[in-house]
């Protein structure tokens, strides 16, 4: 069995990512994007640096200009990005877009992978229709028309939707609203007639969009994978996405925790450092212990995904569930232990809480994934 440690190459990538995010996308960058309501929502110069380092193509096959370095590697990048709350198209395009095309794309569609790897082509996955993640709850309809389809419906919580060059949309070609079969994935040009993409503002200052499809005509070549058979690749894609979001949560939780411990060592109350209070020490020790569990689960989930392990779905859900739970704990405790300072916008600790919740919710929260783990384990 593969050892639960990083290879030297993976560690090198992690170190490189840490350097990049620390220097090119520190927390202050996100703060600036938020304060200025930056229309793009990320800093192109930083994205160019990330692309130069090959990060956008980490999961892309070499034949399409990527490094095919695997999920463990990409996961290190996601984790390090979580530490600085870095805003970039990496998740929407480099993870979700790349893997959607790899999992279900035909040769012609896979050409997009070249653009993903060189950072020029951005994608967004438009699947949720309500506030809570329910990937089978697809009311958006795709009706056959000529050789192609006409799409009607609306999507919400679409990461990087308003900057995407291609939308990957789930729509129903048959079956009832919650049926597993009958879902088809489509590649939709956001500039096509009938598509409205509206950016919505969230506490984390990141990019999410509402997408409305009003009689949007697409050709037969817009179908990604098989008609009616979109559930299977979508679920695999969501496993991958969940694992990478768990890695981001791990990064942001670890950083929030480190900052909190550092604050405990510098803040005095009653004439002593608050780090000397045993009640706080035990809470910190508990959090550290929890973070260690998350670390193991995230790493294992990636290894299982890379190995095509049959437990990969269960492990990805377990990792997302636990990472969500621990992120909620650590960001709440982080603010609490920063006291009044934690409540001010001036301190960064609140930003970690504001980023944590959307990531927790994205592709399913603790409850969604705990339910899924139970289901996969047969109870």
């Amino acid at each position: 069995m593969q050892k639960l440690v990083l290879t030297e190459e993976q560690q090198m990538l992690k170190d490189a990512a840490q350097g990049l995010f620390g220097e090119q996308a520190p927390v202050s960058q996100l703060r600036k994007l938020r304060d200025e309501k930056d229309p793009l929502g990320y800093v192109p110069e930083f994205w160019n640096h990330a692309v130069e380092l090959g990060l956008a193509g980490t999961l892309v096959p070499e034949s399409h200009g990527g490094s095919e370095f695997g999920h463990v590697g990409m996961g290190q990048v996601m984790e390090e990005g979580g530490r600085t709350l870095a805003a970039s198209p990496l998740f929407a395009s480099g993870v979700l877009g790349a893997c959607a095309l790899i999992l279900a794309g035909n040769d012609s569609q896979k050409e997009i992978l070249n653009g993903i790897a060189d950072g020029s082509h951005l994608t967004a996955l438009a699947i949720d229709e309500t506030g809570r993640h329910q990937p089978l709850r697809v009311a958006t309809k795709a009706e056959a028309q000529g050789d192609g389809f006409v799409l009607n419906g609306s999507k919400t919580f679409v990461v990087d939707g308003h900057i995407a060059n291609t939308l990957i949309v789930s729509a129903r070609t048959s079956g009832g609203e919650r049926d597993e079969s009958g879902i088809t994935l489509f590649l939709v040009d956001p500039k096509a007639e009938g598509v409205t993409v509206e950016r919505t503002i969230f506490p984390d200052g990141r990019n999410y969009a509402k997408v409305t499809l009003d009689n949007v005509a697409v050709g037969a070549d817009a179908v990604l994978g098989e008609k009616d058979q979109g559930s299977a690749p979508l679920q695999k894609l969501l496993d991958i996405g969940s694992a990478h979001l768990a890695a981001e949560l791990l990064g942001l939780s670890s950083e929030a925790f480190d900052r909190t411990v550092a604050y405990m060592k510098e803040r005095k109350q009653f004439g002593v450092y608050i780090s000397s209070f045993q009640a706080l020490q035990h809470r910190a020790a508990h959090m550290w212990s929890e973070l260690e569990q998350v670390k193991s689960m995230v790493l294992k989930a990636f290894m299982a995904l890379d190995a095509g392990d049959e437990q990969a779905s269960m492990l990805a859900s377990a990792a997302k569930a636990k990472a969500s739970q621990v992120a909620e704990l650590v960001t709440n405790e982080g603010v609490q232990l920063h006291g009044g300072m934690g409540m001010t916008d001036e301190y960064d600790i609140g930003l970690f809480m504001k980023r944590a919740r959307p990531v927790q919710l994205l592709l399913g929260d603790f409850r969604y994934h705990a339910d899924r783990v139970a289901g996969l384990k047969g109870f």
Partner: protein, 392 residues
């Protein structure tokens, strides 16, 4: 007919006649709150009238003595007044830290001159007060405060910095804890002083919170002159009054655990957001958590009620305000985490008028302060452990 019945009849009639129609509906937002003060802009003539009429009867401070402008009502009459106001959904005529905080302290500890000077303008909503307790370096360790008041004979010169002063930028006067004697045990050299915010050397800066709002300020005190007759109680003995006020504040913040009348319960909101399946909340895991919350919430509300009833019956349960503050604020934080979970991404929409959950993201973030302000949860646990359980 008892006297109380007569009082009820008269009150009902008076309210019927004097409470403007537009003041007979729940407030829609913070903007509908009347805070009074020199610079307050009334939202409407009705709002001004309602304050004026209630103040004339002393009913902005119904249980204060009439000699200082209060209503002079007995406990039972006060209750009747509140019930009759609730009956017609009358809005509170005045929100006031003067009535809630410094007024009671002056009544209990202040000189006759201070009462004469400050209480009537508070009742009439003419002067708006703010609280100067916390300092950047002294959070939970309130008694460690550093703002220094130097004795200059008939006055003090105060230098220092206060933080978490609610609406300091809108207030007319401040009541503040300052250090008048640095050479004794920290609790023994503190005084409670009053000064006008227009005194030279006073400046304020709003603090932006993680919720994006700025209800609090930092206040800078540079060579601020405070007259000696503006000390409440004795010089150097302010800590006793501070503790009295903190207990008071704790009870107010602790109330957050309750679901206000008319407000939808967590479960009702969750049903709105998630829906029912076979009569049960559609997400069984969330249902488990909300059921657990609902049970704790019942426990909290009943405990608050029991504490009041016991106090009335003279069966003091002692330092329960610490426990209620602890339980109430932790409950409120859980409530909002569960609301975010129930609404999902729709509940995190930061802007816009047609958000399904309204200002939930801001409210959720604001609750995080509940267990910090008015004494952190950790301080409340310390109080329970030491004062109630005798652990140490």
């Amino acid at each position: 007919m008892t006297d109380l019945d007569t009082f009820r009849q008269e009150t009902r009639a008076w309210l019927e006649e004097n409470c403007p129609q537009s003041m007979r509906s729940p407030m829609k937002s913070d903007k509908d709150v009347c805070w009074g003060g020199r610079n307050f802009k009334f939202q409407s003539e009705d709002q001004r009238l309602w304050l004026e009429r209630m103040a004339d009867k002393g009913w902005t401070a119904p249980d204060w003595p009439t000699e200082y402008g209060g209503g002079g009502l007995s406990r039972e009459q006060h209750k009747v007044l509140l019930e009759e106001m609730a009956r017609i959904q009358a809005r509170p005529p005045l929100n006031s830290f003067g009535i809630w905080m410094i007024g009671p302290a002056i009544l209990k500890f202040g000189s006759e001159a201070l009462k004469q000077q400050h209480l009537p303008p508070i009742v009439r909503g003419e002067i708006r007060w703010c609280q100067g307790y916390s300092e950047p370096g002294a959070g939970s360790d309130l008694a460690g405060l550093q703002a220094r008041a130097e004795d200059k004979g008939d006055h003090f010169i105060v230098n220092g910095q206060k933080i978490w002063t609610s609406y300091a930028d809108k207030a007319d006067w401040m009541f503040a804890l300052v250090r008048t004697n640095p050479d004794v045990k920290k609790q023994e050299g503190i005084s409670l002083v009053l000064f006008d915010m227009e005194t030279p050397g006073v400046s304020t800066r709003p603090i932006k919170l993680i919720s994006g709002e700025s209800p609090f300020c930092e206040t800078f005190l540079d060579d601020v002159r405070v007259e000696k007759d503006q000390v409440v109680g004795e010089v150097d003995k302010g800590w006793t009054i501070a503790k009295y006020l903190l207990t008071h504040e704790r009870s107010m913040i602790g109330n957050m655990g309750s679901t206000a009348a008319g407000q939808k319960t967590l479960a009702e909101l969750a049903v709105d957001a998630v829906g029912l399946e076979d009569g049960k909340l559609a997400d069984p895991m969330l249902r488990t958590e909300i059921a657990s919350w609902a049970i704790d919430s019942i426990g909290y509300e009943l405990t608050a009620e029991r504490a009041k009833d016991q106090a009335k019956s003279g069966q003091g349960v002692g330092n329960v305000s610490a426990m209620l503050k602890l339980a109430g604020t932790e409950l409120n934080k859980r409530r909002y985490e569960l609301l975010v979970a129930a609404y999902g991404s729709e509940g995190l929409l930061w802007e816009g008028d047609d958000r399904p959950a309204g200002a939930l993201p801001q409210e959720w973030l604001r609750t995080k302060g509940n267990s910090i302000e008015g004494g952190t949860s950790e301080v409340q646990l310390n109080i329970i452990a030491k004062n109630i359980l005798g652990l140490g």
